[in-house]
Symmetry: C2
């Protein structure tokens, strides 16, 4: 699954070239890193992980690549309120189900949940449709997060 041969997922080449971008080594490795974790990595997290396989990479390139991947739609960018953006693979790339986030305001822990997702999605669809019509807004995305304290943080 992580395509360690250095070629990257073949179907991605097409996605990149189709958009006029080149599939380069840094881009492949950054995608590999994101594919190989279930965490919500920050740009610097990615930078450190990438560094192992490709020590010469610069933080700048990581930022640029992440921005590009968000633009192409291969990854999502999130803000969980700790001052740095977090990234995760968009579903479809991996066998990853659509989920939302539970954010602990105590320790910053993030829990992905898929419970109730179907109902949420259904309501979201309905809401999107209604809002699109009323406000003439072309909705492309949504964000749902719950904030609170995780079990550990509740006990001081």
């Amino acid at each position: 699954m992580p395509w360690r041969d250095g070629a990257g997922a073949p179907w991605l080449h097409g996605k990149f070239k189709g958009c006029g971008y080149r599939m380069t080594m840094p881009r492949q490795i950054i995608l590999d890193v994101l594919s190989g974790t279930a965490d919500h990595l920050s740009a610097e997290d990615v930078y450190h992980k990438v560094h192992n396989a490709y020590p010469s990479i610069g933080l700048t390139t990581v930022y640029r690549t992440l921005e590009l991947l968000v633009h192409i739609g291969l990854i999502y960018k999130f803000d969980f309120g700790d001052g740095r953006s977090r990234y995760e693979l968009a579903e479809g790339s991996k066998s990853d189900r659509h989920h939302h986030h539970l954010v602990c305001t105590g320790c910053g822990r993030i829990i992905d949940y898929t419970d109730f997702i179907d109902e949420e999605i259904e309501l979201l669809k309905k809401t999107e449709k209604g809002l699109s019509e009323k406000y003439n807004f072309k909705i492309t995305n949504h964000l749902i997060q719950f904030y609170g304290l995780c079990d550990r943080c509740q006990n001081k």
Copy 2:
């Protein structure tokens, strides 16, 4: 409603003192500014508006006061993805209904909507309950936002 006499809303004094804080002039004026607008002001927006009534105020104090007000629960802090935090009065202070946000990724415009809110709230309650039990999470807050293009931005 904006208590222009400089005393601030009387019931707020209690809220502040109850938490061990003092109700000062800068704090009153910052609250007045937030009460007097329907916009989603950034810290610097607040700073500029406050400056009229209280020219000696510093940006630092604005930041500190906003943080305090968030902590007390009088205002909410939002991130709409443009790199600066935005603040708005929590409902209850004003005759303000609970609402969610529609964010235009083209121009940054924010639309508050209350449509479908009742259904959303109902589902959120149910979801919160379920998630709280399953993950032993004490949920205090939620965030729902839709992203897309507003009517103006759709036409280039």
